[in-house]
């Protein structure tokens, strides 16, 4: 067991050289156009407010409200748990920059 774990670690170390910074969508039920727009928005927001997750979330929420109607919610963070109820076809859950998770959903 230990050996395999070690082997894995080695593999991981080999892989570590690659820094993943691209957005990775984990779960999304939005229409394609909306999805792309939201991903782009999340990326720009996170890059703009790289040191302040709260303002990033605020930016995402406000922009989404403007674009797709009110009652959007956004969570930006490195570690959290969530259990939400959202309107169908209005959820995006993605990772970004290797250590950030962004969840955007709509529920009015």
């Amino acid at each position: 067991m230990i050996e395999t774990v070690e082997a894995k670690k080695e593999d991981v170390e080999v892989g570590k050289k690659i820094i993943h910074s691209h957005p990775l969508v984990r779960h999304c039920d939005m229409p394609d156009e909306m999805k792309n727009e939201t991903i782009e928005l999340c990326v720009t927001a996170c890059e703009k407010h790289s040191s302040n997750n709260e303002s990033a979330a605020k930016l995402i929420k406000e922009t989404m409200d403007n674009k797709f109607g009110p009652s959007w919610h956004a969570v930006v963070g490195e570690g959290f748990g969530l259990e939400i109820t959202h309107e169908c076809r209005n959820l995006l859950y993605m990772f970004f920059a290797g250590n950030m998770a962004v969840c955007v959903w709509k529920c009015s």
Binding site: L24, G77, L82, T85, H86, L91, F95, N99, A101
Partner: protein, 720 residues
């Protein structure tokens, strides 16, 4: 209101209550006794003796107000002392409702009755009119009476009935609610006079009212479904994010691997071919590339099925040629046929110059009595079993041509005079352009179509020749084809005066060939056996014309190396080779049967092939033998089968012939038929073209010398 007092007898049980009530009303009871009773009330229940119980206490209701002060006084400032106030009003009005009812015995009621019972009679109407003011007065009188009555009653002395005047009594009777009490008053108008009508109510009153129907109000309500909701839960952890990224990375790598494998897989068959060294012509043009794996598979299967033929196509050289000295043979290779084209005649064949393995064939019929739909097939040597494309058209196809640079562009000339252009990359069903209209077409069968080779022109141009004696050029515009008459094939003879009008005779064009280098020069053959040389620059003048044949000219073809030399074939069994500005032909061959087609070989300046209606193909090499064909070979098996078309492959050493049964055979030319010209001096490097030109010039100089026509050679007899 004005009732006389009534005595009330109270039984013992109710006495106390009555007493209390009396107390409240201020009954004039003995105050002392009252005090006692009140005192006893607190101690014990009142006990009365038998006597006391039996005692009758008479009480009287009066109209006096018990609370009224008995002796009211008033301060009089005049006398500076109290003066007794005389009157006190005991009358109180609790309710005063003016009634709308009339007593039926009253005068007003009687009048009303009379009016109601006979509304139509003029008397009653008159009476009503005359009495109308009376009603007003009577009512006012009544009001006055009532007021008086009220005053009278209000007064303390209003109790004595005796003092009442008869008027007052009547007034009283009017307002008493109980009419039974009232004595029957004398009726001023006898009721019996009026028609008796039973009154349900003695108060004869009428009410006229109506109520409109209110619009019924309804309540309607709906409830929409709330937008569907879903719960979602996730836990974000750094290791979770990391794993997700790693997973995705691994997936991407796998995909890349798969892609590489696929690429390898697609490359593999090509490598196979290379290892087998089976020569299959590489696809140069994208328009010829097979679409989809199915086509690749089909081709591979065919390649395996016809493996021997492919080997022959590439490698077989007839060893007997070495011993035959001059004669050559044709090795039959693939046969192209299609179920759909079985009853058709191959009317035209055209090779694709960009993909030398592809050619198109037009199918129609020379039996013009029976018209049917036409067909065009695109064949490839790689798949001889089934055509690559099938194009169905309304009329029989007589001519086809492929555009030089855009080999997907195909033009068809039809029997009904129409010209259709297809782009096979787009659709093989709907023509890209079509001349299908009344004015914009040939009036007779289109015998030959050619794409213009001019590359500098922005739009593509087609030239067509038809039996209506017109050579037209068609410019392909955005949505339409614009036609322009290049030349009308008129006869040099005088116009015929048939019925008073002068009709110039028009030749029926049957063959068209363009100069290989000069794009504006072309040859036209007619059904009358004449050959015209024309230019697109002059629409009315022929550069030259000659009466070449006695029968319709089937085909004319320029020599590729020396365009001043051209060959023609005709139904008069002859193939003739001409040179510009020379009235007589350089060569003339009699093939013993109508010559359907003639073609110069692309690889040699002196080789030409002709097909005849008896099903034979004749291949000449003028450099080797000026009098006889090197090869005469029967191609078809059936007796009645005619050969209709022949065409050399532009690159490979094969030719295809089409017959009247819809079958196209490809044949390989044996080494004797394609002898290469050796350079005149050893070690001299001369390119192929100039060599061929030299060869032809040498030959021509030989022929020209006598400057007289060579005798008609009967190849049939020579062969025998």
């Amino acid at each position: 209101m004005a009732k006389s007092g009534k005595s009330l007898k109270s039984t013992g049980s109710s006495r106390l209550l009555l007493l209390k009530g009396a107390q409240e009303k201020g009954e004039n009871l003995d105050s002392e006794r009252n005090d006692n009773l009140m005192a006893n009330d607190y101690d014990a229940p009142l006990k009365l003796t038998e006597l006391e119980l039996r005692e009758e206490i008479v009480r009287t209701l009066t109209t006096f107000d018990p609370n009224a002060p008995k002796y009211p006084v008033e301060f009089c400032f005049k006398t500076q002392g109290f003066v007794p106030k005389e009157s006190y009003n005991h009358f109180l009005v609790h309710l005063n409702v003016a009634s709308t009812c009339l007593h039926r015995d009253s005068e007003a009621a009687q009048e009303q009755l009379a009016r109601m019972q006979d509304p139509g009679s003029p008397e009653s109407a008159l009476g009503a009119k005359s009495k109308a003011p009376k009603i007003g007065t009577s009512t006012s009188e009544e009001k006055v009476e009532e007021e008086e009555d009220v005053e009278a009653e209000g007064g303390a002395s209003a109790e004595e009935p005796g003092s009442e005047k008869p008027d007052e009594a009547a007034a009283e009777a009017e307002i008493t609610p109980d009419p039974v009490v009232v004595a029957p008053a004398p009726t001023p108008v006898p009721v019996s006079v009026l028609p008796h009508k039973k009154l349900t109510n003695q108060f004869n009153f009428c009410e006229r009212g109506s109520l409109t129907v209110n619009n019924p109000s309804r309540e309607i309500f709906t409830q929409t479904n709330p937008p569907p909701r879903v719960t979602f839960s996730a836990n974000v952890t750094q290791w979770g994010i990391y794993d997700a990224y790693m997973e995705e990375h691994a997936e991407q790598q796998e995909k890349e691997k798969e892609k590489k494998e696929k690429e390898k897989a697609t490359l593999a068959p090509q490598k196979k071919e290379e290892t087998k060294k089976v020569e299959v012509v590489q696809v140069k043009n994208a328009s010829c590339a097979p679409e989809g794996a199915a086509k690749i598979l089909e081709r591979m299967t065919n390649q395996n099925t016809y493996d021997e033929i492919i080997q022959d196509f590439k490698y077989w050289e007839d060893p007997s040629d070495e011993f035959k000295d001059e004669e050559g043979t044709l090795l039959p290779l693939w046969k192209f046929s299609c179920d759909r084209a079985q009853n058709y005649t191959v009317t035209s064949i055209c090779w694709n110059e960009n993909c030398p393995d592809m050619f198109i064939a037009g199918y129609g019929s020379f039996d013009f009595k029976r018209r049917k739909a036409g067909l065009m097939c695109v064949y490839t040597l790689k798949n001889p079993s089934y055509p690559e494309h099938l194009v169905f058209v309304e009329s029989e196809v007589l001519a086809v041509d492929i555009h030089q640079s855009q080999s997907s562009m195909i033009v068809l000339g039809l029997l009904d005079g129409n010209i259709e252009v297809y782009d096979l990359t787009k659709s093989s069903e709907i023509p890209l352009h079509s001349s299908n209209s009344v004015n914009n077409k040939h009036t007779a069968a289109v015998w030959q179509v050619r794409w213009s080779k001019e590359s500098n022109q922005s739009e593509m141009t087609i030239y067509s020749i038809s039996a209506d004696g017109q050579v037209l050029s068609w410019s392909l515009m955005q949505n339409e084809m614009i036609k322009m008459t290049l030349i009308s094939l008129t006869f040099p003879t005088e116009p015929i005066n048939s019925d008073g009008t002068l009709c110039p005779l028009i030749g029926c064009g049957s063959a068209l060939a363009f100069h290989p280098t000069e794009n504006n020069i072309f040859l036209v053959g007619t059904e009358e056996g004449r050959i015209y040389k024309c230019s697109t620059a002059y629409t009315s003048i022929f550069l030259s014309e000659s009466e070449a044949h006695y029968m319709p000219v089937q085909q004319v073809d320029f020599n590729r190396y020396n365009p001043s030399v051209y060959a023609s074939s005709s139904g008069d069994w002859r193939v003739k080779i001409w040179e510009d500005d020379r009235k007589e032909p350089l060569f003339e061959f009699d093939l013993g049967s109508p010559v359907e087609d003639v073609a110069w070989a692309p690889y040699s300046s002196t080789v030409l092939a002709a097909v005849t209606a008896d099903g034979r193909i004749h291949v000449f090499d003028l450099n080797v033998n000026k009098y006889r064909p090197l090869c005469q070979q029967a191609v078809t098996q059936k007796k009645k089968c005619k050969l209709t078309k022949v065409s050399f492959n532009p690159k490979h050493l094969i030719l295809v012939v089409g017959d009247s049964f819809g079958c196209i055979s490809s044949m390989k030319l044996s080494p004797n038929l394609r002898k290469k010209q050796k350079p005149p001096k050893k070690g001299m490097v001369v390119d192929h073209d100039t060599l061929e030109k030299l060869k032809l010039d040498k030959l021509l100089s030989l022929v020209r010398e006598p400057n007289k026509p060579i005798m008609v050679l009967d190849t049939e007899s020579a062969a025998n």
